[in-house]
Symmetry: C2
Subunit: 390 residues, 2 copies
């Protein structure tokens, strides 16, 4: 939560943080600290124990006010940025001077961490220039101060996540029962997402038969939805607030044969058992182990074999991890996997998405997005898990 930033900074010995970027689009840290959309980005300064400062272009002053999370907002012009641009040949020389000036004015003297999704090559150059100007820039490993703050969602954030979950469910419930080509279904999905004011910048997966055996195959537009074929429908839209939802259902139109039924029931058992098992204190690794247990007991292979050194690679069975955090990104900590060191905390929001894949035949994956509570979870995905649609 945003109020955690000071304590996280203190525990890591950090005196100041700077979050910068040319856009809040796909920059979860910058949109988190600003509280909304800055069309041309901005730079956020936080001295330990003091209220933050947001510096934006003249153009984005109004956007920064509307985003509303930071009360101290100033413009680049107030900091003489145009003069710096005239003094130096290049923006990449003027910008470090601006940053060091503002850090000095804010009283930052100790270690500084730079945030924001930016070109690593340019970030390194900025850090080097800041070093020459006397700023003590240090790197950070995951979870960074901001990732740690973002992990647990506050009431307003959970409300956003609930909303995008409900809208996504509405789209899925309406689309699930139609028959057509994949291309037509995808067009319907896109229209319904638009009506809900959601976007799907990474697309939607609607994979029929063998293409469903590749977890990231988005499906072939020209493919027809034949009766009895397994379909993997994975939808991951984002609301204008920046928050995401992640939902997968697998089903057949018409009657399923015994092979499809066993796949489906095994995955549903693993998924429902894992959701039931989750609560604050459970480790991401233990949740994954539970799904592996259930899937192996049914006779399918899992990635545990790779971790046990029994095989080098695996293309059949449960070949990915159980889940990941969801918030201002569609993939963040905590992770539910065999290599995860995360222990779940109340307020974290994660996916639970076991799957089994049979090359040449098809796949089944079932996924909900859930909010972790002290006792159990709040399931943000309210869509039935049925094998046969008629």
């Amino acid at each position: 939560m945003i109020g955690d930033i000071d304590s996280k900074m203190r525990s890591k010995g950090i005196d100041g943080i700077v979050v910068f970027g040319d856009t809040t689009l796909a920059d979860p840290d910058l949109s988190y600290v600003a509280g909304g959309v800055l069309p041309r980005g901005g730079t956020y300064f936080k001295k330990l124990g003091r209220p933050p400062l947001l510096v934006v272009s003249n153009l984005d002053y109004g956007s920064a006010r509307r985003a509303g999370k930071v009360t101290r907002i100033q413009t680049l012009t107030q900091w003489g940025y145009e003069k710096l641009l005239k003094r130096f040949e290049d923006r990449s020389d003027a910008f470090p001077h601006l940053i060091s000036q503002i850090l000095r004015a804010e009283g930052v003297r100790g270690k500084v961490v730079l945030f924001g999704r930016n070109d690593v090559a340019k970030g390194l150059r900025l850090a080097e220039r800041l070093g020459r100007l006397g700023v003590k820039v240090v790197g950070q490993q995951s979870p960074t101060v901001l990732e740690a703050a973002r992990d647990r969602k506050d009431g307003k954030e959970l409300e956003e996540l609930r909303k995008v979950g409900a809208k996504t469910a509405r789209v899925v419930n309406e689309v699930g029962r139609r028959r057509a080509t994949v291309g037509l279904i995808k067009f319907m999905i896109a229209s319904k997402l638009a009506r809900e004011n959601l976007i799907a910048p990474e697309g939607t997966i609607f994979a029929v038969g063998p293409s469903g055996a590749d977890p990231h195959n988005a499906g072939v537009d020209a493919a027809e939805i034949k009766k009895g074929r397994l379909i993997v429908f994975d939808i991951f839209p984002q609301a204008q607030s920046g928050y995401w939802s992640d939902l997968t259902r697998s089903f057949v139109v018409g009657r399923a044969d015994a092979r499809a039924r066993k796949l489906f029931e095994t995955v549903r058992d693993a998924q429902v058992s894992s959701v039931d098992y989750l609560r604050a204190g459970i480790t991401g690794e233990a949740a994954m182990e539970l799904s592996c247990d259930i899937i192996e007991r049914a006779g399918y292979r899992t990635v545990r074999e790779i971790f046990q050194g029994k095989t080098k690679s695996l293309s059949t069975g449960f070949i990915h991890s159980l889940g990941h955090g969801v918030g201002l990104t569609i993939g963040e900590s905590p992770y539910l996997s065999l290599s995860s060191r995360d222990s779940l905390r109340s307020g974290e929001v994660v996916t639970v998405e076991p799957g089994i894949y049979i090359p040449g035949y098809g796949g089944v994956r079932i996924e909900d997005t859930v909010a972790v509570r002290t006792r159990g979870v709040e399931n943000l995905t309210k869509v039935e898990k049925e094998l046969e649609l008629n």
Copy 2:
């Protein structure tokens, strides 16, 4: 163009580049070198003078093949990444070892630049760890090797940009003539974008009357579109290929008064004159000066006053720059502005978007996306510039 990478590396004394990230979403460098979407990202290695290598998770091997730009594709498992994850406590320790191993195997011995939109804090830590492992990581200022390669678009890229331009124009032509509230218009726009398979991850600006005087005010959903009020309609969608289009029109429904007409005609004159003026060899600064000349001659103020030191800030008149590059991002070099050092080259694609803003009254901005040619430009935006819609 992608073939320029070797010569740019050579001229900057770089022996290897690494492009990495957890997603190609909003990562123009990673999607550029991969040639398409990698749902969970990947790592691209390029030794000077040798064909590149793309390393992805087992899951994304199919996606990498479909993206199709790199022929040498390998998986993390082939490089023993699971073992590295077991050997080290943390992913952020295993990853530097993986990178240094592959760089060694590819024969990279000299300077290495890291690319990809990633948390700066984590990028700095990766660079530091790589340094300990003997990799010579250096920063870069703009334009980086990849930005320089991306500037000029090849035939396939121009074809994508033409397509997204044509689709965007179709949406605008259909929406422009309706009357409703802003919210209803925006819903219609979103539906039509969905039909064209376009997304607008940064939203759409449809600002009526005084809200149009703030260039980044997206418009108020509840506002009614009253006759005679100036409307700024700025739409910037992205195609699934990753390429963008940027288009602004300003108009009134019904009859315009003399004040609106003078604003509109001045901006249109500046815009059309600047488009006509552009060709390879023209500087971004000269194009901006031409628009300022025309707008000042009509009696409006421009940002030139700030650059001349006559004022510290400006909220009326032509208060932003003339344009920017468009490609896999919606804002990149070259820039058409008073501080630009860019000289236009054939194959670059830029916006031309002068605007005049009158606080409390409204604004006019007109914008096309154009491809720079040796003689003139190819205008990718085929939408009329009319003041009055009836």
